[in-house]
Symmetry: D2
Amino acid sequence: MRLTIGVDIGGTKVAAGVVDPDGLIRDEVTHPTPGGDAEALADVVGRAVAELRERRPEDAIAAVGVGTAGFVDEERSRIVLGANLGLADEPFKDRLRRRVDLPIVVENDANAAAWAEVRFGAGRGSRHVVCVTLGTGVGGGIVMDGELKRGRYGVAAEVGHYRVVPYGRRCGCGNHGCWEQYASGRALVAEAQDLAKNDPARAARLLKPAGGDTARITGPDITRAALEGDDGALECFRTVAGWVGLGLADLAAILDPECFVIGGGVSDAGDILLEPVRESFARHVTGRATRRLADIRIAELGSKAGIVGAADLALC
Amino acid sequence: MRLTIGVDIGGTKVAAGVVDPDGLIRDEVTHPTPGGDAEALADVVGRAVAELRERRPEDAIAAVGVGTAGFVDEERSRIVLGANLGLADEPFKDRLRRRVDLPIVVENDANAAAWAEVRFGAGRGSRHVVCVTLGTGVGGGIVMDGELKRGRYGVAAEVGHYRVVPYGRRCGCGNHGCWEQYASGRALVAEAQDLAKNDPARAARLLKPAGGDTARITGPDITRAALEGDDGALECFRTVAGWVGLGLADLAAILDPECFVIGGGVSDAGDILLEPVRESFARHVTGRATRRLADIRIAELGSKAGIVGAADLALC
Amino acid sequence: MRLTIGVDIGGTKVAAGVVDPDGLIRDEVTHPTPGGDAEALADVVGRAVAELRERRPEDAIAAVGVGTAGFVDEERSRIVLGANLGLADEPFKDRLRRRVDLPIVVENDANAAAWAEVRFGAGRGSRHVVCVTLGTGVGGGIVMDGELKRGRYGVAAEVGHYRVVPYGRRCGCGNHGCWEQYASGRALVAEAQDLAKNDPARAARLLKPAGGDTARITGPDITRAALEGDDGALECFRTVAGWVGLGLADLAAILDPECFVIGGGVSDAGDILLEPVRESFARHVTGRATRRLADIRIAELGSKAGIVGAADLALC
Amino acid sequence: MRLTIGVDIGGTKVAAGVVDPDGLIRDEVTHPTPGGDAEALADVVGRAVAELRERRPEDAIAAVGVGTAGFVDEERSRIVLGANLGLADEPFKDRLRRRVDLPIVVENDANAAAWAEVRFGAGRGSRHVVCVTLGTGVGGGIVMDGELKRGRYGVAAEVGHYRVVPYGRRCGCGNHGCWEQYASGRALVAEAQDLAKNDPARAARLLKPAGGDTARITGPDITRAALEGDDGALECFRTVAGWVGLGLADLAAILDPECFVIGGGVSDAGDILLEPVRESFARHVTGRATRRLADIRIAELGSKAGIVGAADLALC
């Protein structure tokens, strides 16, 4: 049986797992992400891979796939820009190869997670899938005709940074009106904060876990309140869902997928998010009177998608 | 040598040509497009094909590709919606097969034209190309990893109908703020009309061929005035080019192509369009400080792209 | 008792009435509006005034006020631009004086109607009122500290042409995104047309009186359907009402009136319009958590407001 | 000669001055603004007034005008909301009367400054003036027919919080897309920061005084760079000026003033700001082909406008 290792480099931890051909994680280790030094990072990834291999027969592992935030080049080798990790133009595959004698590929983490969902999760069975991760920001992965699309320079599917509002909210990328400023977890929190300012009574339930301080409202708190039926929280979700659906409508005009898979922290709200997203999508997509509407589903693999996808892509 | 026939069904004429493997048109016939009846249309297409075949040895032609406006299904067989032709849910391939005993495929015309540019025109040599046709409306074709992408239901690349302005100008598709309302030939005319209203002196050169009637200003007139250096016309082009560049920036965020190919009547202005498009693109694309910027080129095949692309796709 | 004559010059008819100090119309005559010639128009207005005076004792009438569409200068004398009437830079007061030996003032018709509502209608008792007329377009009148505000050049209160959407729908004034493109009767019809395109079933009731032709849907038809409870029509009203409320919120930020009075054909829908307008206003006005919200009311004088206001202003 | 005292309560200091009928400040004292307690603030204002009176003959001072940030009620008596000072629903006039035995009025500080400009500064001689203060935020004051317009509840002229971009940048007021997010000093800094992110070379001159840290770029630094001809700084000004002009165009549609007076820190750039503001205004104002365009001028009284205006309003 072919086994590969998938590594998910996050801002706070490095998680690595042995993954089988069915997408199941057979073994897993995690380490804290070391600060801003490619050598230290490669050491940690190398150690994690070594630990997992030690517990298996020699030759059990065929390859290693590494998923990381940031722009990764089209050779699946260099980290062109990994702002969260403090890396730029970093030949990470080469660096890691000095520690690991296996085939290695480096992938964008949103691409890895998307691939996992298409192969083993909510996108299973579809050959045209767009995955959208609604986390702090908005990430994406595009699968067309059964293949992950990386674009010419490896940076396709940066869907969070297409513009939905000319002259809209400022984005960390330097642009204005990027989708992720309206459809992300951060946007959800912004909605709650604005509600607290404009209608404190309606935001009472949201302000409670934050000790009355709007700056301390968190996404998970809003989700919890929404699941309990709180009106204010549900309103925040409806607003964000409206933008999610509008964005999916634009992506459908361009990519015409069979289904969208929505992951990330915001998707933990399940149907509370999904229902108004579908409604907004159906109201905004071009040609809606005649076209087949894409299906919209919640991701199934949760936070493990990165490991599974990176592992599976290691041999693609 | 493999020869195929490409047919381009337009609103006013049906053009068919024999195309060789180098994308050269060896023979061509045209007929007027008959009004709103699929039978009559199939007759005309069938006749055109027959005429071209009669002039060649039997078996010289290997297949027929038909390019048509509107939504075409993923089987490349049915015209799901062809508003301009008055067709809906039309099994055009089957209908044509009763007249033509060759392999037939039906394609969206913008897809066909895009394919031609990638194979034989401005996109030659690139495996990641987005073609944008700036005609009365805005059409598109997407080639990724060397393959034309049709999406799950055949209607990908409807780039003219992704939204650039929430609550923006009304679009014939029933939505608001679609890109084609800002980046098309019709948008160019609208700019000229508004200029004429707000600053008649500045619009004098534009109003001249229209006999002073803003409703009669045409795109080609504006292009001609711009090529002659008229300030008002150049301003109209700069405005439209700004929107074109902004849209390409959004498409780059999603698709990361190596190059964009711009065709359609508006592209006849060449550098007058291209220069401000590039400037706008560079000012709007996400990650511009670190990413490789896609090349932006004018289409090379002009109005023949539809025939050539349809012919070449007939055997794909 | 002081009596004055008010004249309302509309696109199709000239209506003139004798008005008493309580704003009651004691006598009225109407004539068709003559086409595009100031002399002919002055003849008709002069004749109407003469007819009304003939039926009264000599000296019964103290003055004449004329309300007309278009820009009127700050001297209340010239029609700077009256596009509907085909007039420009027209010294109408002087022209009329050659026919009528009474004090004359010329006013913008929306100003006249607004003044009538403040003196005798829905704005009675308030010294800070903004009147908004939702007709084919959107007109306005501003009363602050009990005085009608005309601005420096007589063209204040052109509220229909402040911009609510950058790069929004084209406006007849040559700009884009003007409020009247979103909040007028024409906007209401546009909503119905778009609904018919996107969701014909939901628009069935709206299409009926138009014989199935979206181009023939009218505002009164939509109002009627809404009053009967039709879902599609109610949705059109909610959308337009959202924009009306948003615009009133902007006007409140600038003018802080005690109340808004909404007139024009769209206001015939009464509470169907008013309720979502109030909701939208309350959701959009700045400082809503602490400020006193302006009252929002439907106009009371209907189509007679123009005559009454012009008559009352004749002596101001 | 009638003398009055004007007091300008700012976030960091309380400035008070004796002002003569020509708007000249004859004497002045300043104290630090005490933190968040109305009693302490009234003590400081009372002391400042007492100090100024001690140096004059008894009865020399006729009245006291106090200008303060925040919403002031229509009675010119209560501070409804003074967020910067930590005050809400504060009866400041009554509180101050226990310390000062003179007629007292409380005014919004932007209104006071506007009034000063109309009486003694750049708006002198005009009876229809809109003053706009481009500071950290955007404030305003409206004079129509020679009178300061406060609205029904005292909060008119909050022009910084009318909306220019639907779903635009978040504003401290709880709304989105407020004008002050695009036209203020803070907006100018945001432009510089975005430029630094997107085009560091072009922003080099701007980053220098900030030690390379975008977060430390200040408005005065940008102004200085612009005055020295730096391209990046000039681009920031052009962008902000574009929004200023667009906003003035909307205000002209509503208020039709004879002139706009622009003050606040951003106006220190003089013609560098003014020229593109005028251009943008002329390109955006409705009816521009026929109307008289309002004049646009830089404020003349600088930071003293608050004292002078409050003093002059004390007897109005």
